[in-house]
Each structure stands twice: as structure tokens, then as C-alpha cells.
């Protein structure tokens, strides 16, 4: 069994319906989807060591099977600028999560590189009852929330499919570079879409996947948050 399936099967055996953030990140990495440099730490001292190693600014994310929507409960702290800020942020993160759910089992904290801002997009995977594994692409933020500027393709996707999908969005002009902004690295976005397509095809236990956002840079693209939801029965179409 390959490494991804081992992670998925372990989660299913533990009765979990979604993967922990380090697990999701590892599956992405194994499928060549870039994610920020990160480490799992268990206390503030470890966090400081890793923070200095990664280089500031950094982000902290709570790791708990009971907390799916991390940012709703103060389980994510962004833009920690230096060691002093990290020392304050760490205990506050733990306390906020405890306050929200005293029974939440905290398995650790993920410390990762805070990625510089750029155009945000969203890439998703879904297992449709009619067509099976499918891939979503959307412009991030307000474009997705308000204008629902998203589009789908049924997996597998090749380069031509991925480019057609990107250009189908009304907001795709933003990626081509407007108002003096450099254009986004289309090849990198195409690669992410193709990788998500093959990820969804390979792992039938994954029912839904969010890479939200993926930050699109002039050179490269990084999935800064990942969520993988599992099918309870362990597989679908």
C-alpha cells in the first residue's frame, strides 16, 4: 500500500471523517502539490526552534481531530513576525481552542512559513454521484463567496482541460496580469489541477478536497491550506 493510502486507512480505522492538517499536507506533498514548509511541534520551545529554522513570519495551526474549521475557533494564528510574538501566540492559541472545546484532543501545533500575499485561487476535488471524481477551480475570496466564479471538470484532466478550466472563469483575466501586476504562473496552476485530478482518481476514500487558498505567484503556486474529507464507507464511485 502506498504512503497516502496508509495515512487514509489509519484515519478511517480511527473513525475519523477528515484528515489532520499535517496528514493532508503530506498527501499533497506526495502528489507534488507545493505546500509551505512546516513542522509539528508540541510546546512553545519546540515552536521557537522551528520558527527560527523556517524563518519569520510564521503561522500556527492547531492539530485536533475534533476541530475541522480551525479558523472559526481561533485555531489559526497568522503573520507571527518574530520570536517574541511567537512566544505570546502559542499559549493563546492553546487557550482559545480549550475555551471553545474543553474536550478537544490537541495532538500538537503546526508551525509553517507564512507565504507572502498574491492572487488567491481555490482548487477543489469532489466525488460526484453521477460522474465520479471531479475537479473544481475558482478565483479566491470574494469571487468565490459572492460571484460563485467557479467551474468544474470531470477527472482525469490533461493540460488542455486544465487551461480551458482556468480560462472559463470570469476572473481569469486577473491571473493574466492586470493593473501592472505580473501574470500568474499558469503552468504551476495547471500542474496543481492535474495533480488534484490524479489524487482524486487514485484515492477513492477521499470524498472532498479543498486547497483554499492556493496562492498564485508569478513563479509557482502554493496551497497554503488543505482540507481532505473522507467518505465514511471508505470509498465511492
Amino acid at each position: 500500500m502506498n504512503e497516502c493510502e496508509t495515512i487514509i486507512q489509519k484515519a478511517l480505522q480511527e473513525g475519523r471523517s477528515s484528515l489532520l492538517i499535517p496528514e493532508s499536507q503530506q498527501i499533497c506533498t506526495l502528489h507534488h502539490i507545493p505546500t509551505p514548509v512546516s513542522h509539528v511541534v508540541q510546546n512553545v520551545d519546540e515552536a521557537v526552534t522551528k520558527g527560527n529554522e523556517i524563518g519569520f513570519p510564521v503561522v500556527l495551526k492547531i492539530i485536533s481531530p475534533q476541530i475541522l474549521h480551525k479558523s472559526d475557533v481561533g485555531g489559526v494564528v497568522l503573520g507571527i513576525a518574530d520570536e517574541a510574538a511567537l512566544k505570546n501566540a502559542y499559549p493563546k492559541l492553546i487557550a482559545d481552542v480549550r475555551k471553545y472545546n474543553p474536550n478537544a484532543k490537541v495532538l500538537g501545533v503546526l508551525i509553517e512559513k507564512m507565504m507572502p500575499p498574491s492572487t488567491e485561487v481555490i482548487v477543489g476535488g469532489i466525488r460526484d454521484s453521477q460522474f465520479g471524481p471531479s475537479v473544481m477551480f475558482g478565483m479566491g475570496g470574494i469571487f468565490t463567496e459572492v460571484y460563485k466564479d467557479v467551474a468544474f471538470r470531470v477527472a482525469p484532466l490533461d493540460k488542455i482541460d486544465a487551461l480551458n478550466l482556468i480560462h472559463e472563469l470570469r476572473g481569469s483575466k486577473i491571473l493574466e496580469g492586470i493593473r501592472g501586476q505580473p501574470p500568474a504562473d499558469m503552468d504551476a496552476l495547471v500542474d496543481v489541477l492535474i495533480d488534484v485530478s490524479s489524487l482524486m482518481l487514485q484515492h477513492s476514500a477521499i470524498s472532498q478536497l479543498d486547497l483554499n487558498p492556493v496562492i498564485a505567484y508569478p513563479d509557482g503556486a502554493v496551497a497554503v491550506d488543505t482540507r481532505i474529507v473522507l467518505a465514511k464507507n471508505g470509498g465511492g464511485v
Binding site: I126, D128, Q130, D158
Partner: protein, 471 residues
């Protein structure tokens, strides 16, 4: 082809053929007897000696010789035993017209699954139940139980039409007949106990009489197989789909952002686009697109549209519709401009949209269509011809048809009006020039041609890539 016996049977039995003229079985049997169908037709009825002068048989097993197609029009509870008879007899294809199966649930659903079991492992293929079956004007196969004075049968043409709904299919056929629209095959698939849209697409992909496949579907039973069949078909002919039930929100657990955004309509749209299927949103669009795609050539790499009109307003509205869809107008070459300037009156301005002005006669159209369609900067021609002026006679149809044939470029017409216009629209239809009553519909049809061209370009690019990648 295992579906061939549905469309090219040499022998047909009609189970439920009755002497009572209003019975479905009677109408179906009479349609075969009265038509130019060249094969043998047998009425099956245990209580009659002859029907319409032909010897009746108590069961299909009693019919002498091979039986290709059996049409079954008896009450649902009697159908399973007739299916047994068909299997025993070695019948190749059956159309079950009868309703009262899965669509009513309970006992009906049980009857339907019993039929499914009976044909497992046999070579019998079934269309239906709960359908109006097959209409093939090439081989004169007609299982429609509606009499011809109610539902007129369209002539032969290049468009195949598959409908999940029988009533919708019947209404469209009747309408198509009134518009002189020709059909290569019509299939109403009903409950799809066996043959479904995937089987039919695969069959129609190879059908030499079909140039464009249209489908009305509500649910697709085998999603991925359907996309594969569509992709295969699209290499040679376009597929246009009207999907009913798009607005119903898909029930879906939404633990992810993607899940909350993935309505069934969105996934269908993406699935169709990815496969290269042309999606129609309305009944109008289904046949507007199909007529352009079936009648006219695929555009070349040049996709800019030239508008030739005798009405300024329609020209302007068409230009708006073109830009609204992100399509381009043509920039006429200097040759074209010279020719237009030399031949048009001073008050006509030679640019796209090209207004030939209200006193344009057929000769002016002939000249302008020839000039514009031979211009390399023009990919597609939209001819607007308003027939209310006394300068234009019906030979404008010949001018358009001849220009269309000579140029090899797609040409569509926009015209609106009363009886005289309608007559010319039918003449154009005869010549396979699709005409539309509004600029919006004409430009949408043009857009479907461009969409299909892009699908072909993607196929071509993939072929080139696979050639590069293979050693």
C-alpha cells in the same frame, strides 16, 4: 452493431396488434403496414385470425422464420411473459411501449426488474419500457403509437434525436415536420431497462445518416461512460444536449468549501464542457444549434463573423450580440473593400456589419455575399434578409445557397416576418441553410459552430501531443 435490428429490421412483430383502431397496438401495426417499410410485419394477437388482412399469430414463437424486432404494446403485467417468448424465439430487439413499470414504483418496479433479469445472458436488447420507441425515416421503422394526422412524421435529414421523455419527443417531431426539419433517427428511451443514451450515442457515432446528435435527458445513468461515448462521437459529429432538471439543488454533505459549491448543475456543466458536448439551455437552442451544426461546415481557424444585412437595426443588434458573446466581427480586406465600394451605392458604408440598405435587391446580395465570403478575414457569414421590402424576391434563397456552397464557410440566416418570410425560411431549410427569427438566436447558433470548432482544435492538439510523446 447490436442495435442495428432496432433500425434496420427485416421482420417485425407487433404484440398487441388489435382490430380496434384506437388501440396503440393497432396504430403501430397500421403504421408499418401503410408505410414503405420493406420487411415483413406480423400481428401478434391470440384472439384474432387476421388484422388488416394479415394473418395473426398467437405468440411471437409461432411466427415462421427469424424475427428481428418485436414491438410490445400490451398492459404491463403481460409484458414479462412476452419477453420470455422473445428470448425463446431468439428475437434480436424489442421495443416495450407499455407504461406501468418503474415510473409508478411498487409492483411496476418489480415487473421492470423481472424483465431485466430475463434478458441477462440473452442476445435480446430492449428499448423502453414506458416510451414511444423508434422512428427511422431511412428504413421506415415507426413504432410511434400516435396516428399520423396527430403527430406528423418528419422527413429524412441529418439530425438524430434521443429523448428520455416520450411526450416531449413527440411534440418536437411534430413541430420539426412543420418546419421542414429532417431527422435521421428518433429514439424515445423511456425507463432504460436495457438500452440507454450511452448505447445509442455509440451507435449513432457510426451512423452514416447522422451528422449531429441531439439529446433530451433528465438523468444520465452511466455518467463516465456517457462522457466517453460523447467524446468518441464528437470526433466525427457534434453532440448537443438539453439536460432537464438542472435547477434542482444536489443533496450533498458539505464538509468542504468545494462540496458547498458543487451543485449538480455545475458539475453537469463542467462534465459536458470537458467532453466537448454542446449544452443547450432551452428547447429552442437544442434545435437552433443542431441545425447549424448538421447543415453547415465547421468554421476554419478564422472565426470572425461578417454580417450582411438590408436592415441597419438588425445589423447593429447582431453586432452587439456578437460582442456580448466575446466573438469577433471581421475586418474586411482591401480587396473586399474595393469591390464593395465599386458595386454598392454611395450611401452604403462598406464595413462589418455590412448594410446593403433598404433598396438592396438579390443582385446586390449576390455580389456582397461573394465578396465577403471569399475574404480570408471572414470565417462565418450571418446573412440578415428582411423580406418586407418589394426589392427582394424569393430567388434570394438561391443567392444565399450558392454563396454558401461556393465559399465552404458556414452561413446562417436571420429573418423575421409573416407568411412570405416563412415560405422562404422553409426553402432555406430545404437547402440546409439554417434561418433564425432573431439576431440573438442566429448568433447563438454561430457560437455553437465556434464551440464545436474549438472542440476539434483541442482534439487536434491532443493528437499532435500524443504523436510527439510516442517514440
Amino acid at each position: 452493431m447490436d442495435l442495428e435490428p432496432f433500425f434496420k429490421p427485416k421482420t417485425v412483430a407487433v404484440v398487441g396488434a388489435s382490430r380496434k383502431p384506437r388501440k396503440f397496438g393497432h396504430v403501430i401495426f397500421k403504421n408499418f403496414v401503410d408505410s414503405e417499410f420493406e420487411g415483413k410485419v406480423y400481428p401478434i394477437n391470440p384472439e384474432a385470425d387476421t388484422i388488416l388482412g394479415l394473418k395473426a399469430y398467437p405468440s411471437v414463437v409461432d411466427v415462421p422464420g427469424e424475427l428481428d424486432l418485436t414491438v410490445i404494446a400490451v398492459p404491463a403485467p403481460k409484458v414479462p411473459s412476452i419477453v420470455d417468448d422473445c428470448v425463446t424465439k431468439g428475437v434480436k430487439a424489442a421495443v416495450i411501449i407499455s407504461g406501468g413499470f418503474k415510473e409508478i414504483g411498487g409492483e411496476g418496479a418489480k415487473l421492470e426488474s423481472s424483465i431485466k433479469k430475463k434478458i441477462e445472458g440473452s442476445s435480446l436488447r430492449i428499448i423502453g419500457p414506458n416510451c414511444i420507441g423508434v422512428y427511422d425515416p431511412v428504413n421506415h421503422v415507426d413504432t410511434l403509437f400516435l396516428p399520423k394526422y396527430r403527430l406528423r412524421r418528419p422527413k429524412q435529414g441529418p439530425i438524430a434525436f434521443i429523448s428520455q421523455s416520450g411526450a416531449f419527443g413527440a411534440a418536437v417531431l411534430d413541430w420539426a415536420t412543420s418546419q421542414e426539419i429532417g431527422i435521421s433517427k428518433f429514439i424515445s428511451i423511456g425507463n432504460k431497462v436495457d438500452v440507454d443514451e450511452v448505447d445509442l450515442l455509440n451507435y449513432l457515432a457510426e451512423d452514416p445518416h447522422t451528422k449531429c446528435v441531439t439529446l433530451y435527458v433528465e438523468g444520465i445513468s452511466r455518467g463516465r461512460a456517457f462522457l466517453d461515448a460523447a467524446k468518441k462521437t464528437l470526433k466525427n459529429k457534434p453532440v448537443v444536449v438539453l439536460k432537464g432538471g438542472m435547477t434542482k439543488a444536489g443533496a450533498r454533505a458539505t464538509m468542504s468549501h468545494t462540496g458547498s459549491l458543487a451543485g449538480s448543475a455545475q458539475i453537469y456543466e463542467g462534465a459536458f464542457k470537458g467532453a466537448g458536448i454542446i449544452a443547450a439551455q432551452t428547447v429552442d437552442e437544442l434545435f437552433d444549434y443542431a441545425r447549424a451544426l448538421a447543415y453547415q461546415p465547421v468554421p476554419g481557424s478564422q472565426k470572425n463573423v461578417a454580417i450582411v444585412t438590408n436592415g441597419g437595426g438588425f445589423g447593429v443588434i447582431s453586432a452587439d450580440e456578437i460582442s456580448r458573446r466575446g466573438l469577433g466581427l471581421a475586418e474586411f480586406s482591401s480587396n473586399t473593400l474595393d469591390r464593395l465600394r465599386a458595386n454598392l451605392p454611395d450611401y452604403a458604408i462598406p464595413h462589418d456589419p455590412l448594410d446593403l440598405v433598404g433598396d438592396a435587391d438579390v443582385e446586390r446580395y449576390r455580389m456582397a455575399l461573394d465578396a465577403v465570403s471569399s475574404d480570408p478575414n471572414v470565417g462565418i457569414i450571418l446573412v440578415i434578409v428582411l423580406l418586407q421590402t418589394s426589392f427582394i424576391e424569393s430567388d434570394v434563397v438561391d443567392a444565399i445557397s450558392e454563396a454558401s456552397l461556393a465559399s465552404g464557410k458556414p452561413m446562417v440566416v436571420c429573418t423575421i416576418g409573416g407568411d412570405f418570410t416563412q415560405m422562404l425560411v422553409k426553402m432555406l431549410e430545404e437547402d440546409q441553410i439554417p434561418a433564425y427569427p432573431t439576431p440573438g438566436r442566429a448568433v447563438s447558433a454561430i457560437n455553437s459552430l465556434i464551440q464545436y470548432r474549438k472542440v476539434q482544435e483541442d482534439i487536434e492538439r491532443r493528437n499532435q501531443q500524443s504523436q510527439v510523446n510516442s517514440p
